[in-house]
Amino acid sequence: MTDTDPYNTWKQARGNRPVPERFADGVMDEIRRRHCPAKKGTGYFFAAIRPRDSASGIEKVACPRFCYRTEPVRRGDVVVFRDPDNRSQAFFKRVVALPGDTVELRANELYVNGKQLPRQLVPDAAATAPAGRAAPAVYVETNARARYRIRLADPGPDGPTSPGDVPELTVPTAHCYVLGDNRNLSKDSRAFGPIPLADLIGRAEQIYFPRWQSLRPEPGSDPE
């Protein structure tokens, strides 16, 4: 048979059926839907927060939901979790210690596993403060492999919402210890204790309003 034979033409036409656009995407979507329940509902959780020492009003934060079903929680992550006292409300705090770690706060110094976390003053950091108060001092704190900024503000007449010092405690299994980045003006694990990992909604990754700002810790140099 030659190439112009009907049989060869038919062979070529029927053997090279076009593949529908996005066929592979459809298969992969269905596989994810059926076999990866951990990723069901993957999406972003958006929230408006009003930091206690912020002069700029509200900030809007985006965080991927359910990321901790597939990834481990790390020190330095800013996590979103349910307020233990009011389950309809969510908190954004930074994880400073993981299950099994010991934590202690003494004179504004944080100790994890018996080691004082090193921190450096950022001299020209543009931290804002509500009217009538001194601008908080900004430090870069290094916690294991993460480096992040914290603010030590003057508590002012409202006073701190958490006790300043915390005696050494061990974070229980399946819990983590969280502190606010505004160390002296934060309701956090100092008030309500370590939080269950099951209460984590997601990881806050960025503030997208009023200006974009990453909340992910910078990589640090200290070994885990």
């Binding site: 048979m1 009907p6 049989y7 033409t9 038919w10 062979k11 036409a13 029927r14 053997g15 090279n16 059926r17 593949v19 529908p20 066929f23 592979a24 459809g26 298969v27 992969m28 269905e30 596989i31 994810r32 059926r34 076999h35 990866c36």
Partner: protein, 183 residues
């Protein structure tokens, strides 16, 4: 035929939990599987559903695939063949008639003649006994070698050879008959 090492690595990654690695296998085999299923079932939408099912089933059963015994393609086409046979057995006689498939004519007259010839061959393929149909589609339209077709069909290579030969004869005969009728 043994499973190529790059495919084996992909399969190992999928089995280790990297679900997304399976996309490479889908992309590699989507065209031949659609050609196979489409030529057996003819209905385009039904064929796409069954082809998707083939890949989903392959993903779900990947743990049972033995790379030392067969190539991934052989295993995949065995699943595809079984799914098609199930679909064909469930199909009611009323749904076996299908509209002619679209072709791409160069000129109206040439296109008409070409289309008529292709439709004639489609009808002749549909009239073949199922073992001959699956064998000729796998060997001639998908382009698998006869030894692989024999493994997919679970028969001896000689049996596949004779099925393909008889199917080809029936198809060419149908063209000859159609040409004779128009003269």
């Amino acid at each position: 035929m043994r499973c190529p090492s790059h495919e084996r690595e992909t399969i190992d990654r999928v089995l280790a939990g990297d679900t997304e690695a399976f996309r490479a296998l889908v992309v590699r085999y989507q065209q031949p599987v659609l050609a196979f299923v489409g030529n057996l079932l003819r209905d385009r939408h039904h064929a796409e559903d069954v082809a998707q099912d083939v890949f989903l089933l392959a993903f779900a059963r990947l743990g049972s695939f033995d790379a030392g015994r067969a190539a991934f393609s052989t295993w995949l086409f065995t699943i595809a063949r079984n799914r098609c046979l199930n679909a064909l057995s469930r199909r009611s006689p009323a749904t076996t008639a299908h509209p002619p498939e679209p072709t791409d004519p160069h000129t109206p007259l040439a296109g008409l003649i070409r289309r008529e010839a292709l439709d004639q061959l489609d009808r002749a393929l549909d009239d073949l006994p199922t073992p001959q149909r699956t064998a000729i589609v796998l060997a001639e339209l998908v382009g698998l070698d006869q030894a692989e077709v024999a493994r997919i069909e679970g028969v001896a290579p000689g049996t596949v050879r004779s099925r393909i030969s008889r199917a080809k004869k029936a198809l060419t005969e149908s063209i000859r008959r159609a040409a004779g009728a128009t003269e």
